[in-house]
Assembly symmetry: D2
């Protein structure tokens, strides 16, 4: 198997070989979910010690280090915590770029639009229950409790900014600043790659009434994921070349949030999960980059 | 019953009596759906002739004329075509305000967010089937085929701007610029005011795959509608007082589109049905009115 | 096109040609739904006059007459009323056999098991709403209002015996001897042969509570129908050879009820729609025919 | 707390006090689910030793022993394994009666009818996924993993006899003698006693097609359970008085299977889960007891 350093070097050689044959190389992690690595590796020193002392490191971390050292952008399509603070620091030091985490193709993406819809309509979303099952290799792997934990963490935060952004519906003082939220994933071989998502959204409304929406979604998991990969690679590549006031966007490419279940940013206090807001942010950034005035959507310019 | 003129005068007296007791009067039509009145009354002359000649006019038109002549804002919560071109002209002439049509509380509102979601994710929404049933008086009235036609027309247009705004997914040349779209409403006494909506959204995706979402919604019809009425009355009242460059917003208060299934505007070529865009338009107008810079959502101001 | 008599003769020739090449011939109508023919043709004389006088007759009636005259069993897989009393009489006179009406493959079959389940559990099923859409030729044809009427009639009666068989839950005196029941079929080209059924079953339970079940079914229409055709042909052929006390079972093969939405029998007062009862009737008849004692399901024989 | 013997004596006193005030006493366990007690207590000696040696015993076992010793019928409405072989033996020795296990009111009952429906229609049910959540105390208790195990075991066996009874669809040799089956229960406080069940039934059909049914059920848990309790108490009381050839039915009242998720019998090789078969067994036993000939459902008696 080799030492950490040998493994990293081996991966770097691969990347260099790939570079020799292509104009541009971007690394996208689509392998199965790994377990969460705890505690997080915070200091760069600590990371470097672990590499040197040959402490076991997850595959995704080794790949990511190799990519950073080769100046190749690394996108994380799985939920595990590859991007430890020390990794982000390493990327910064090497002027490299990161994007993640965990492709947002189906149920979670739907959840972000449902919270846009319900909370945006003034209804107090009170419980969200998300069941899903699939029979492909990803489903099989998620049976492992440790891997499912990664997924669960990645899926859980998606309603947080909706709650924080609306303290009329979710007042802190009354203990009402939460949504009952459950996420379940099961491995059901028969359904194969055809993923099923069964959700229920319950909202408290006027006069203590309830609005209940139950949804059922069937879709080939891969057919949703692949176009996302294309989009994020094309955009990630563009973003690595963009500058604002002569400053690069990195190391974290937070404008890719639209594509990720658990988006990370360079400013942890500002994570957006809202579907419509993420989409607009992306669209308007591209407008500005093309020299078009971003739409302030007031329609006032249209009017006069 | 009296002549048209007597009826209008009778309604105007009521409005004046109401004005005497209140600071501000706004008229909101929440009565049952009327049949569509065809052909539309286009010229103001024609309308005035019909009034004088005592041609039968729908109740909603009589109420609306009374409101206009008394300078009272008229909001139409039902799908019938009260706002004939001649009525809009009358409102303009009298510096009065109109808003409509048809409260958007449930299934149609959901539809606008679903098209935001699916088309906004790059999926080609290909068919939308919307079934709903309810057992209240509104449901009973919609059994009448002529009234249902009003509803059907009001519900049908909601996907039009999504198609028009995206000619990559809906290219005109290939005959693919349409979505199969069905709307059904049934009267089922047992369920009472607890309206049920069963929808199916099918999208064509990568490699000719299909993404299918079926949803089931239960909600008390009235509990969704009443808060909308409050919101639209409060905002309508505010909008009647707003001016942009010393010009009033009317006669049609198009910024109320967020609340209506078939929004009308002063510029027919520009009707927005997208939930997130309608919401943002409203929010940003209020920001501008308060002297706050509307958010261009690029996050660039945050970044630097 | 020819006269009625010529058309019938033409079809009889076809049947004879088919007989010449095969051991046994059975005719199964799977063509599109025809409109209901009203008034029903009651007297055999009347039917014979219409044939002679060249009054227009539906295709299915012409085919059925040809089959009867050739002694070929005729099974009706569509909802139209081919089996007028005069046709049944003609079959009796010719010792021929009939079976029908309308294949029960999907939603209606599900409905018979749901009423078994709910009413059999002591819950008062109070409303059943059945929406379905499909995009195949059958769906297109059912757009025609007259053809849909045939379907609607065929689908409507399925709960009748459940109500009649349970006057504790459905007492006549209180006007509670009915279930709100709606059936809707829509043509949605995009879904093709993949039929969608969206149902809702609401039951009144203890303390005036409600039990609500919403279901969503996707299935290729043809893949459900074809095996039914095989089964009913095999069984119909067997039944034409069975005798009880030297008496044949016909002219109507009511033991085929399991396969039909609107089963007809030789004893109109005794029509069974219950899925489990139909199935048991069929199974136990086959047991008796094989010389096996039918199961009385008391388990007492097992016990002692 | 007292010794086992003191606790049992205390409970017996309660039962005697209850008997003094009533004609008949039946004990029905509706308390929360306990954890599974493993290993099972097989020998009566072993049970008696545990009582004497004051080994900890689950509450339900103590209640059950007290009931048996007082000659009171004990019905187990929860999934835990109260009825250890030694307990059944104790009941036999004391001519006492037992019935169980675990009320079958909602999702599991639905599952037994769905397998009747699908397999009975000749479709190969291939996967069953059952999600449910509730917010009452029962839901809270089931969060405890050990208690959920009891529930999961009780819910899992329900498809076993359907598979065993049909080796054409489920041939042992091809490894196809199984159904993918998942059961999930979550505690979601917001929904309270209004239990939600989201199921998916997938079947393999003709030409390798798939039939998919997704269902969504809302019902107050208690309103379904209470009438079941009445029914089973009334029937249990009757069954304790019934004799067949001067022999009592006990100790296990297996004719109560209709009401239980994991029915137990005196003949372990013969457990029926099919809804329609359980119902018929019950109905026909009552007919026989009343001197009515049970229906063999061939309709032949009707015919001649």
């Amino acid at each position: 198997m080799g030492t950490n350093e040998e493994l990293i070097e081996y991966l770097r050689e691969d990347i260099r070989a790939c570079k020799a044959r292509n104009d541009k190389v971007i690394m996208l992690w689509t392998a199965n979910t790994e377990m969460f690595l705890l505690p997080e590796i915070n200091a760069l020193d600590d990371l470097e010690d672990r590499i040197k002392n040959n402490n076991p490191l997850p595959s995704s971390v080794l790949y990511c280090i190799a990519a950073i050292l080769e100046g190749v952008t690394y996108l994380n399509g799985s939920p595990q915590n590859t991007f430890h603070p020390a990794i982000v620091e390493l990327a910064k030091k090497n002027n490299s770029f990161l994007g993640g985490n965990d492709f947002k193709s189906g149920q979670t993406r739907f959840k972000t639009i449902m919270s846009d819809f319900l909370i945006g309509s003034g209804l107090r979303l009170a419980s969200v229950v998300s069941y899903n099952h699939l029979g492909n290799n990803d489903g099989k792997n998620l049976q492992e409790d440790k891997c499912f934990q990664s997924k669960k963490i990645s899926k859980a935060g998606v309603l947080d900014d909706a709650i924080k952004g609306n303290d009329i519906l979710y007042p802190e003082e009354d203990g009402k600043n939460k949504i009952d939220h459950e996420v379940v994933i099961k491995y059901v071989p028969f359904v194969g790659d055809s993923k099923r998502a069964l959700d229920e959204y319950s909202s408290q409304i006027f006069l203590n009434g309830t609005n209940t929406i139950s949804s059922y979604n069937i879709c080939e998991d891969s057919l949703l994921a692949v176009p996302l990969m294309y989009d994020m690679i094309v955009l990630a590549e563009l973003f690595t070349r963009m500058e604002i006031d002569e400053e690069k966007l990195g190391p974290v490419l937070s404008y890719l949030s639209f594509f990720f279940k658990a988006p990370i940013t360079n400013h942890n206090e500002y994570i957006i999960n809202s579907f419509s807001r993420q989409r607009e942010t992306l669209t308007n950034l591209l407008k500005v980059a093309s020299g078009i005035l971003p739409d302030d959507t007031t329609l006032l310019s249209f009017k006069f």
